[in-house]
């Protein structure tokens, strides 16, 4: 049964007439054209589909569209402001913290979520906070460095 669902997507009020049981990942990619959010495993084990729901990192492959009604959803496309990269995006680019780039949007969204909660994470907190996001090219070392750098820049900006 289709239903009207309303939420704030990347800062804009969005309304969809949709079956609320549809998986959020495919709604974002398919109906809304936001293909930065990736499918990797479909059961929440890899993190390639991570988005922010009310500032918390969430696996969009394991969430239905109905569950985000009236919430704030941010995808990788909504991170840069006025063409200026978010500090986490910038740190990933500057640290070469990616190879094929397919896990990168999910990594970045997860890292933003982590820094929202812990603005000054220790190395161990970064590792445990990023642990469930998988990267097969194995850019882990540089991703950890990028999260450190982003944390410093974000505090400096405040």
């Amino acid at each position: 049964m289709e239903k009207k669902i309303s939420f704030v997507l990347n800062g804009k009020r969005t309304e969809l007439l949709i079956d609320p049981t549809e998986t959020l990942l495919w709604v974002l990619r398919n109906q809304l054209g936001l293909t930065g959010t990736k499918y990797g495993c479909g059961i929440g084990y890899c993190g390639a589909c991570t988005v922010l729901i009310d500032n918390e990192p969430v696996r969009s492959c394991s969430l239905s569209a109905g569950e985000v009604a009236d919430k704030k959803v941010i995808t990788i496309e909504g991170l840069a402001k006025n063409g200026k990269l978010h500090p986490v995006q910038k740190a990933f680019a500057e640290n070469d913290a990616l190879q094929c780039g397919f896990c990168t949007p999910g990594m970045i969204m997860n890292a933003v979520g982590l820094l929202n909660k812990k603005p000054s994470p220790t190395n161990d907190e970064i590792i445990s906070g990023m642990e469930d996001n998988l990267c097969r090219c194995a850019a882990h070392k540089r991703i950890i460095q990028a999260v450190h750098d982003a944390a410093i820049e974000m505090k400096g900006g405040k």
């Binding site: 990619r29 479909g42 496309e77 097969r136 540089r142």
Partner: protein
């Protein structure tokens, strides 16, 4: 004296016959004016002393490699693809240096069968060492052409000209200058290169040897980089295909009634090939779960626990790949003899992007966007499967979300093409993770038997090496042994397939298996001889590159010699792959009650010849080390009765952040040597270096990877 040919008729080049899709002449017209340099690849490959390409023989025409447009933009056309290894960044660096143009003026078009020259595929760490060198030659030739043009226009001999940033200047009168774009304006010059031109001396490099960030990083951190699955065409359908529950299963009956009633969903059927399609991926996913199918299962007896014994019992033929001296003489001259058997299982590739393809047929022409490492072999496959002519099939390769050898298999693209034909609509096939595991072309399970001996001085007396199913990559003896024999056993010609499912190349194919067997056997001998593992290697090596790497890594690590097992948990291993030499030293911590092993730190030294982009090469080394921890500790495809039990990342563990050791990588300075491969070498010794470090820590010897806690405990009990 250099010979250059300009006339098409002299060269055997036919612009009408193209190895790709679009008629070459049409394509060249599209390029407009400027300078085009064509390289005859099979000749270039001889000239640059590279290994012969595999598969389809190279086309007998020239291939457009390089175009300098009227605005001075240099475009490099390559059938190679970008999958994270970074050639999208490093190939333009090579071009910029040969042509003396600003790096930002160099563009690269990759993996499009209509636009790019034929290429066997992107694998084997060949892009820089083979293809890159051809491109450099083409660029060097282009510069000669431009210098000749400038010489005529400026009235100055070529020898008196200098090029910087795309501007040619008279060294005696700097006011006399002309840019590449001025030279190419209104002109159309085609050159056919069949003689190796002199390439730029490394002392004159402006760009090569400096470090570059990924040129595609901005696209990738913003989510704008388009992978195959991110493409959309009007009316595009998402397909889900009915899959068998196990290998060897056949469709007995199917009930599609529930699915046929679903709104917005269509069933497509061509005998046993059944799919549901919808413009909404969620609806296709829902529909496929509602298909009721029964299969007959012809249960396969082999499983992940008995596969190695099964392989040894299978009908094999041995191929002697190397002999030196006489094994029996070697045995007689030995004071100690060692006989070992090493094992490994199937490995999955696990790119985070699953196999994906979008196919569209329009006006009799099939276009397929595919996540593939082999766009041209895919084109060939589509020509056969779809009974179409090569001119009507185009493969376009967007960014790849990882390959590791697994995307040399292209089944998903054939499925998408079939469905596009059956539906008359553009069709996207994006495998689920379960499909990815089920249809992956795994690294093969294998067995290696090594018999070897040493004399009382610690010199290796003989080396009798027998590898089953893993082939010879990485099976070089490396050490200086007077009596040696290497035999590679594979399936006999008429025997039934030994493997229950498809196998294929997995990052540094089989070099991991062979390096593991060799380097653990070396460690066994060093330990029994009572000689430090580094000293034992140096004593038995003549290969200077290997010796240099070992010394460099020992220096980086701060290695202190000791007889193993020393209790410190420090291991050594070395090897070579893709023309590159590597040496590793690792320190591990073993929890002897749980069997859990942590790599605390690792140092790696690598001789890869001229290093084009040192930062990019370091990233590849770090990637190899980290990915190598996967096959070392956890990765092994579980299967039973023809079913793949490893279905997702919960049942097949790949490396995570918490596994990360401290890494120190060194790239030896070899600017005067040709560039070699960098995407694979540093992974080959990972299993061995960890096994040797575990032995040094505990005195327990592991002959099989992955070295799971259970296997470590078992080895500790056995010692």
């Amino acid at each position: 004296m250099k010979k250059r040919q300009n006339k098409i008729s002299d060269t055997g080049f036919s612009p009408e016959s193209s190895s790709s899709g679009m008629k070459r002449r049409d394509f060249f017209k599209l390029l407009g004016g400027g300078i085009m340099i064509f390289v005859q690849p099979w000749k270039m490959i001889d000239l640059i002393d590279s290994p012969a390409e595999q598969g389809r023989s190279l086309p007998k025409d020239y291939n457009a490699f390089l175009h300098i447009a009227e605005d001075g933009t240099v475009t490099c056309y390559t059938g190679k693809i970008e999958m994270g290894q970074g050639i999208i960044t490093s190939l333009p660096v090579m071009m910029a240096d040969e042509l003396n143009v600003p790096l930002e003026k160099v563009k690269i078009i990759m993996g499009d069968t209509d636009l790019c020259p034929w290429d066997a595929g992107t694998y084997g760490s060949q892009s820089t060492q083979s293809f890159g060198q051809s491109m450099r030659a083409a660029a060097a030739e282009a510069k000669v052409v431009l210098l000749e043009q400038a010489s005529a226009q400026l009235g100055v001999p070529v020898s008196q000209l200098d090029v910087r940033n795309g501007i040619i200047t008279d060294t005696k009168d700097p006011k006399k200058a002309i840019s590449y774009s001025q030279l190419t304006k209104g002109k159309r010059i085609e050159k056919f290169l069949d003689v190796k031109p002199a390439m730029e001396d490394f002392t004159k490099f402006n760009y090569i040897g400096k470090s570059y960030k990924h040129s595609d990083a901005n696209l990738k951190v913003t989510g704008q980089a388009k992978y195959t699955g991110d493409h959309k065409l009007p009316g595009m359908l998402f397909a889900r295909i009915l899959r068998p529950p196990a290998y060897g299963a056949k469709l007995k009956s199917v009930d599609l009634s529930a699915v046929e009633k679903l709104p917005g969903v269509k069933v497509v059927r061509d005998s046993d090939f059944i799919a549901v399609v919808s413009e909404n991926r969620n609806k296709s996913d829902d529909a496929i779960s509602k298909v009721k199918a029964e299969f007959t299962i012809d249960e396969i007896k082999v499983n992940d626990r008995n596969i190695n014994e099964f392989l040894l019992r299978s009908d094999t033929t041995g191929n002697v790949v190397r002999t030196a001296g006489d094994i029996e003489t070697g045995r007689k001259n030995s004071d100690k003899i060692f006989e070992s058997v090493f094992y490994d299982g199937f490995l999955a590739h696990c790119p985070i992007e699953t196999h994906t393809a979008l196919a569209n047929i329009e006006n009799g022409k099939l276009t397929v966007w595919a996540s593939t490492q082999t766009p041209f072999p895919l084109q060939d496959r589509l020509v056969r499967e779809m009974a179409m002519s090569r001119e009507t099939v185009r493969v376009i390769t967007p960014f790849l979300g990882g390959g590791f050898g697994g995307k040399s298999a292209v089944e998903q693209a054939v499925e998408a093409a079939r469905l596009a034909k059956l539906t008359g609509k553009p069709v996207m096939v994006a495998w689920t993770r379960e499909e990815e595991f089920f249809y992956d072309t795994f690294h093969t399970a294998s067995v290696v038997r090594v018999n070897s001996g040493i004399d009382n001085s610690g010199k290796i007396t003989f080396w009798d090496y027998n590898v089953y199913y893993a082939g010879t990559r990485g099976a070089e003896t490396i050490y200086d042994v007077p009596n040696a024999k290497t035999i590679s056993f594979s399936k006999s010609r008429n025997a039934a397939a030994a493997h229950p499912f498809s196998t294929g190349p997995w990052r540094a194919p089989n070099a991991n298996t062979n390096t593991f067997a060799r380097e653990v056997q070396i460690d066994i001998m060093a330990s029994k001889a009572g000689i430090d593992a580094l000293e034992f290697r140096l004593k038995n090596l003549k290969d200077e590159k290997m010796i240099d790497c070992l010394k460099a890594v020992a220096d980086k690590f701060g290695y202190v010699p000791a007889k193993s097992p020393s209790g410190r948990g420090i291991g050594i291993a070395c090897g070579s792959d893709a023309g590159t030499w590597v040496a590793h030293i690792a320190e591990v911590k073993v929890d002897e009650t749980t069997g859990k092993v942590n790599v605390i730190r690792i140092a790696v030294a690598q001789d890869m010849g001229l290093c084009i982009n040192p930062e990019g090469a370091l990233i590849q080394m770090e990637g190899c080390i980290t990915m190598g921890l996967g096959y070392t500790f956890t990765e092994e495809v579980k299967f039973e009765g023809g079913n793949i039990l490893s279905k997702n990342f919960d049942t097949y563990q790949i490396p995570r952040f918490s596994w990360l050791p401290k890494m120190d990588c060194v790239i030896l300075d070899r600017k005067d040597k040709p560039p070699r491969g960098g995407g694979e070498p540093a992974i080959v010794a990972m299993g061995a270096v960890v096994a040797n470090a575990i032995f040094d820590a505990t005195g327990a010897r592991l002959y099989r990877y992955p070295m799971t806690p259970e296997r470590v405990i078992e080895a500790i009990k056995k010692k």
